[in-house]
């Protein structure tokens, strides 16, 4: 059998008629972090991680640049040699080439 006490408290329930500002607990925890000096430690860690990442990229660039440079250079030498031959041939007319060929044959 339910007593008056049970009826009263069942009707009221256990909900509290209070609220807190938005994001209160998140901000509170961050505030305590700052007060105990944890926030700065974490920032330092993040900064250190970033520094490692930047250093790794820098080393990578330093190592790979000569490799790319060498292969590109070789490619451009080959390209330049082709261009030079084409250029020289374009400057000489056909009759001169023929004279040269005839001269060489008579010498032999």
């Amino acid at each position: 059998m339910k007593t008056n006490k049970n009826i009263l408290f069942e009707e009221i329930g256990k909900e509290l008629p209070f609220s807190v500002p938005d994001n209160y607990f998140e901000q509170f925890a961050n505030q305590i972090d700052k007060q105990i000096g944890y926030s700065s430690t974490r920032t330092h860690k993040i900064f250190r991680t970033w520094m490692y990442a930047v250093a790794a990229v820098f080393v990578g660039v330093m190592v790979l640049t000569p490799v790319f440079y060498t292969s590109n250079n070789q490619r451009s030498i080959v390209k330049n040699t082709d261009n030079y031959e084409t250029y020289v041939l374009s400057q000489v007319d056909e009759s001169a080439l023929l004279d040269c060929y005839v001269d060489n044959s008579s010498t032999k």
Binding site: P17, F18, S19, F25, F28, A29, I32, I36, Y38
Partner: protein, 182 residues
Amino acid sequence: MDPAEKDLQLQLSQPKKRAAAFSSLVRSYQERLYWHIRKMVLSHDDANDVLQNTFMKAWNGLDGFRGDSQVSTWLYRIATNETLTFLSNKRMRNLQSLDGDEDMMLQNLQADTYMNGTELQQKLQKAISTLPDKQRLVFNMKYFDDITYEQMENILGTSVGALKASYHYAVKKIEKFFSEED
């Protein structure tokens, strides 16, 4: 002691891991402790102040924590002491002011901007505010948080028998408050 509790206490005792462990402790217990305090001081601003004092006291007292109780019990004990000290200081200030101590808790309740809920819930808070601090504490912990008398004994340092009696008297007074109001 369960392994998680053991691990937590170990981390709190190591200077290098202490801050990180305490930060996660704050995140785990802040809501529970906030409501434990808020039910007593009623105003959000006061609860915020007391909660901050609680965690800073815990942080500064970590070296004194010997691990003879659970971390949660230790935190609840600090929060309870801070709350009772806060209320006692506030009463002293009110006694010295012209307003006097009368209805201090009721004023706190009415002045709070973060108060909502049904009429009955607000009326229950008014009824609870008429109880002595220790009785309010016991009623709140039992009624709202379902904390066992044995856990309460560890936190408050009061025997189970005395706690049961305290809760019984609190319930009687609240019922009387409601019957007189009707």
